[in-house]
């Protein structure tokens, strides 16, 4: 198989601003970013609460959330499909095969990632952070916010990991997005489709974008950590 020609074609598609290609990239970035932005506050708050508050059933909750990390995304897609399909309990919302449905799916997939990473970061935080804030007169919410600020690199890592998981996700996207060109077709579903058709150029171009995103996210995270006075 000739790899050079499709790779050159891929660069051409990327740098000539091919509208179909950039629409796919936009769909991926839009759905992933909105999903993370919507779910992050709840997931981070829950991660903090599980780490700091001891309540009956806490251990079971931790095990459940950790278990959800390895939950197949296609099963998330299947469950949401059944909920959102016309005959499903949420069918009246008419969300199936829309970007909104994909955002819901991504929120479900990212949720345990953000909770578990935040939980781990807060558990690893020095207990004196919260105590010091409280002793200096901070109310509980401010002390919680102060703790999250002190472990902000861990919290940011959770956000980037959640983003990384959903931006490269295929199963759920196909199940509830439908891979509709110009509407719900995103980077991973487009790669799968183009490859199955033997159209490697677009698949390679989109693969480059995914790799660039992964590298970019890691670079930003490393840069921020370096700037954080972690000496």
């Amino acid at each position: 198989m000739d790899l050079i020609e499709p790779t050159l074609d891929a660069f051409r598609l990327l740098f000539t601003g091919d509208p179909k290609l950039w629409r796919i990239i936009w769909t991926s970035l839009y759905c992933s970013t909105v999903a993370i932005a919507l779910i992050a506050p709840f997931a981070i708050a829950l991660g903090f609460l599980i780490a700091k508050v001891h309540f009956p059933g806490r251990r079971a909750l931790v095990i459940t959330v950790q278990g959800l990390l390895s939950f197949p995304t296609v099963v998330v897609g299947l469950t949401l499909y059944m909920l959102l399909s016309r005959q499903g309990p949420l069918g009246f919302l008419r969300l199936l095969f829309t970007p909104e449905a994909m955002i819901i799916g991504y929120m479900v997939i990212a949720f345990p990632v953000l909770v578990v990473f935040t939980l781990s970061s807060v558990q690893g935080a020095d207990p004196r952070v919260y105590e010091t804030a409280r002793s200096l007169g901070a109310h509980k919410l401010m002390a919680a916010w102060t703790t999250l600020r002190e472990v902000r690199f861990g919290v940011m890592a959770s956000i980037f990991n959640g983003f990384g998981r959903v931006v490269s996700e295929v199963g759920c996207s196909i199940m509830i997005g439908g891979n509709i060109a110009g509407l719900t077709r995103n980077i991973p579903t487009a790669i799968a489709l183009e490859t199955s058709k033997g159209e490697f150029a677009q698949g390679i171009a989109l693969g480059f974008v995914l790799i660039a995103l992964a590298l970019g996210i890691n670079a930003v995270l490393s840069f921020i950590q370096g700037e954080g006075g972690m000496t």
């Binding site: 010091t132 200096l136 600020r149 006075g229």
Partner: protein, 233 residues
């Protein structure tokens, strides 16, 4: 003349079967400094943490300004009146100036006023030259002084300092001792838990000793007469 500032009564705490504090009672007077001694594990830090609202007591009350607080369910109003400084103070990962201004910000003080007070506190603690430095660059003595300045700006009625001179070199210890002396000058009161003999022997310090869960005042020849209640246990 010293006046009655804080009175604690019936403070008890146990960890499992082990009784750490048994109906501890004491009275602390304003303008006085106290040193709390006792063997390792005698409950010094536990008592301080209970008074600061960081751990709940099993039972016990604290009376201040005619108000009585149940130490088993620490009330929020007391947090503004008592500030606790850890043995190894935690400084937030921001500048020294922002660390000192943290409690003021928590109280909603406006930025300009906060900056003025922080500048004074930096001067007081001899830290003016490192106001913008990150905590990770500071020595143990400097961190302790930052924590004391951070507590001082809040004007609490009661300062609780846990082993403030532990692991400090001679110079660092003397600077911290000077600040402790200064903290106890106003209408407030300082309670220091420590093993540091130099600190214990300071003429302005009155001594309590925790032993087997009971708190007792320790008279010292030539020292000021102890003006706090003996244990009621």
């Amino acid at each position: 003349m010293s006046g009655h500032l804080v009175r604690i009564d019936g403070v008890s705490k146990r960890f499992g079967e082990r009784v750490v504090l048994s109906a501890v009672a004491a009275r602390f007077l304003s303008g006085e400094s106290y040193v709390l001694t006792g063997d390792n594990g005698s409950g010094k830090s536990t008592l301080m943490r209970i008074l600061a609202g960081l751990d709940p007591a099993e039972s016990g009350t604290l009376e201040m300004d005619g108000r009585t607080a149940d130490l088993a369910s620490y009330p929020e109003w007391l947090r503004g009146e008592i500030v606790y400084v850890h043995q190894h103070p935690y400084l937030f990962d921001t500048s020294i100036a922002e660390n000192i201004g943290f409690g003021l910000r928590a109280r909603g003080m406006e930025a300009a006023e906060r900056r003025r007070i922080v500048a004074e506190a930096l001067e007081w603690a001899g830290l003016g030259h490192i106001a913008r430095v990150r905590p990770s660059k500071l020595s143990g003595g400097e961190k302790q002084r930052v924590a004391m300045a951070r507590a001082k700006v809040l004007h609490p009625r009661l300062f609780l300092l846990d082993e403030p001179t532990a692991n400090l070199d001679r110079d660092g210890r003397h600077r911290v001792l000077d600040l402790i002396h200064d903290l106890g000058q106003g209408e407030n009161c300082v309670v220091v838990a420590c093993h540091d003999q130099e600190l214990i022997q300071l003429p302005f310090m009155r001594q309590f000793r925790l032993d087997s869960g009971h708190l007792a005042s320790v008279p010292r020849p030539g020292a000021k007469p102890v003006s706090a209640d003996r244990t009621l246990a």
